[in-house]
């Protein structure tokens, strides 16, 4: 073999290696995708699509069995919204503090703390919630049980915060120093510079942080399951103080006991598919926000 053909061979070999890797990933993805939707299809052979989408009761054991999506969706929505409302502003403010206001030492310590708290396993947080949060929520609001959407929200907010803080902090720190100097040179103070130049320049990174935080909240299973009581009912106006059951918790709780091939079994895959669609939706929104921002910059 000449030197030349050896090099060609190596190049082709590497190329095919990457190709196989790429195709492999795609295949696995397609397989999961196909599996999820095939199982959902099976579900809709016996259960009306409309009844599933607008059903207000999730009662797998009852006769007839009821598989209404709404209570689960309401549970997920309540817990997620309840987590995001405090986590987003607190997260962004902390990120601003770390990257703009704190001295270098304080910033390093805070960044380390954020990294550490990102590493807390969700079971541990759920356990902490069960022991410390549930009884307090119960006594403060005088409820029969402290396992509520609010409890789940608080735990989720704590879980989403490190993501929101570190991703936003990255975005803020990577705003070019030249922009900051330009703003200062016009006689604006630090607050005006943060509010009118730095945050707008970092908005795409910050919205990515928020979306990632939401994604984390929607997809989180264990910690939420441990503190929300898991009652599949559509809550009323007292939504945050009632027990709820999220989509993910439902799958986790029921998958173990369900018999393969039953309607219930297919129903669980169907709500898995719903979760998949929601996640894709969130990512699309994130992309749209980014694109809209790009038009200005």
């Amino acid at each position: 073999m000449t030197k030349h053909s050896l090099r060609d061979f190596r190049e082709n070999f590497m190329k095919s290696l990457f190709l196989i890797g790429g195709i492999g990933t795609l295949l696995i993805l397609l397989l999961i995708f196909a599996f999820l939707f095939a199982e959902s299809f099976n579900f809709f052979k016996t259960y009306d699509f409309w009844d599933f989408l607008t059903g207000t009761e999730w009662k797998p054991g009852a006769s007839p069995e009821m598989f209404g999506l709404l209570p689960l969706l309401a549970g997920t929505a309540a817990v997620t919204v309840g987590a995001i409302i405090p986590a987003v502003p607190v997260g962004i403010l902390s990120a601003v503090y770390i990257s703009e206001l704190a001295g270098p030492k304080t910033a390093d310590i805070l960044k380390f703390a954020v990294e550490l708290s990102a590493g807390i396993p969700s079971v541990v947080l759920g356990f902490f919630g069960m022991i410390h949060l549930v009884p307090r929520i119960q006594s403060v609001f005088d409820l029969t049980t402290g396992q509520t959407a609010l409890t789940g929200s608080i735990i989720l907010a704590i879980m989403a915060l490190p993501t929101i803080i570190s991703v936003s902090e990255d975005a803020i720190s990577s705003v070019p120093a030249a922009l900051k100097q330009g703003s200062f040179a016009l006689g604006s103070n630090h607050w005006q510079t943060i509010y009118k130049v730095i945050l707008p320049a970092a908005v795409s990174g910050i919205s990515a942080a928020v979306i990632l935080g939401i994604g984390r909240a929607v997809g989180e299973t264990m910690a939420v399951m441990m503190v929300t009581g898991n009652m599949a009912i559509i809550p009323g106006s007292d939504i945050f103080l009632s027990s709820v059951r999220t989509v993910t918790a439902t799958i986790a709780l029921e998958m173990g006991e369900v018999a393969k091939g039953t309607e219930h079994y297919y129903a669980l895959f169907t709500i898995g598919a719903v979760l998949f669609v929601i996640t894709i939706g969130i990512n699309k929104i994130a992309e749209a926000v980014k694109r809209k921002h790009k038009q200005v910059t």
């Binding site: 070019p176 030249a178 922009l179 100097q181 330009g182 703003s183 200062f184 040179a185 016009l186 006689g187 604006s188 103070n189 005006q192 009118k196 130049v197 707008p200 320049a201 038009q295 200005v296 910059t297």
Partner: protein, 291 residues
């Protein structure tokens, strides 16, 4: 206004005693040149007295005495690392943002020491604007870029469109952008972006504008436009420019100062500095770079 004017009225005796104090270390040409008569001295935009600056343990500016006349273009020249940018930044206190930077001495803008007690730094930066080496428009529309300064200084909403147009006209950019004010500033060419940054500075109505190598990233045509613009601007503003381009310094500036490793070696009328430098080091630099 009257208060600042009277403060600005330094007597000729002041100047003499101050020159005695520094022992003619810097060869002043003011007495020999009619352009720098005592009347001229009353029209000082900026006075620097015994200015020393350190970055940590490293002294970047040493005993600088310098007067910058009003309504002139003043160029700062010297080899890389001699402290030109550092000196420029002392005049609008942009060095405040560098954590290990320590400053001693006086810089008076309109007679008032900007390193004195109770100085409003944001107010100072409104009076002493700055244009940077690399154009740094904000990631907003062209219009918003210009409106930013007036807005933060509390100019009323009604006046802003007028200020935007006036500033863009002044920066010779209006005709090129008047139909696309809502478009992102980053869609402009490099030269247009630099003129936008000049317009943005003009919009806050400063007295002095500091330019740090404003043309180093531009082509000859854009550079020409900015030079014309400066010549126009000096009617209303005092301009201080750092430049590595000796031809540019010779072409556009009225006065020049030569720096070398943190020291001010020589200052005077541009023609004087370039044609008949008093210091060997100035001559060496000029002939090396120019001839």
């Amino acid at each position: 206004m009257n208060a600042t004017e009277s403060k600005n009225a330094f007597s000729y005796e002041d100047t003499l005693s101050f020159e005695n104090a520094i022992g003619f270390e810097n060869k002043y040409l003011y007495e020999q040149d009619p352009a720098f008569s005592p009347e001229m001295n009353r029209k000082k935009a900026i006075e620097v007295k015994d200015l020393n600056l350190w970055y940590g343990g490293n002294q970047a500016l040493k005993k600088i005495y310098l007067d910058i006349p009003k309504n002139k273009i003043f160029s700062l020249i010297g080899p890389s690392g001699c402290g030109k940018s550092t000196f420029l930044r002392t005049m609008n206190r942009m060095n405040d943002m560098i954590s290990n930077c320590r400053i001693e001495g006086k810089v008076c803008v309109d007679g008032e020491n900007i390193y004195g007690k109770g100085i409003d730094v944001t107010g100072l930066r409104k009076r002493v604007g700055m244009v940077f080496q690399k154009a740094n428009p904000f990631p907003m529309s062209i219009y918003e870029n210009i409106a930013y300064g007036p807005k933060i200084h509390g100019v009323s909403k009604k006046e802003i469109p007028g200020i935007v147009e006036e500033s863009l006209r002044c920066a010779a950019l209006w005709d090129e952008v008047k139909d696309r004010l809502k478009e992102p500033a980053l869609s402009l060419s490099g030269g247009q972006q630099q003129r936008l940054c000049i317009a943005r500075t003009l919009a806050v109505k400063p007295e002095v504008i500091l330019f740090d190598e404003p043309c180093s990233a531009l082509d000859p045509i854009s550079t020409g436009k900015i030079e014309e613009l400066m010549a126009e601007l000096k009617k209303d503003y005092t301009i201080v420019i750092v430049t590595h381009n000796m031809h540019q310094a010779a072409r556009i500036s009225d006065c020049a100062a030569f720096f070398l490793s943190g020291e001010l070696i020589e200052t005077g009328k541009t023609a004087q500095i370039f044609e008949n430098p008093q210091d060997k080091r100035t001559e060496g630099y000029i002939t090396g770079r120019f001839g």
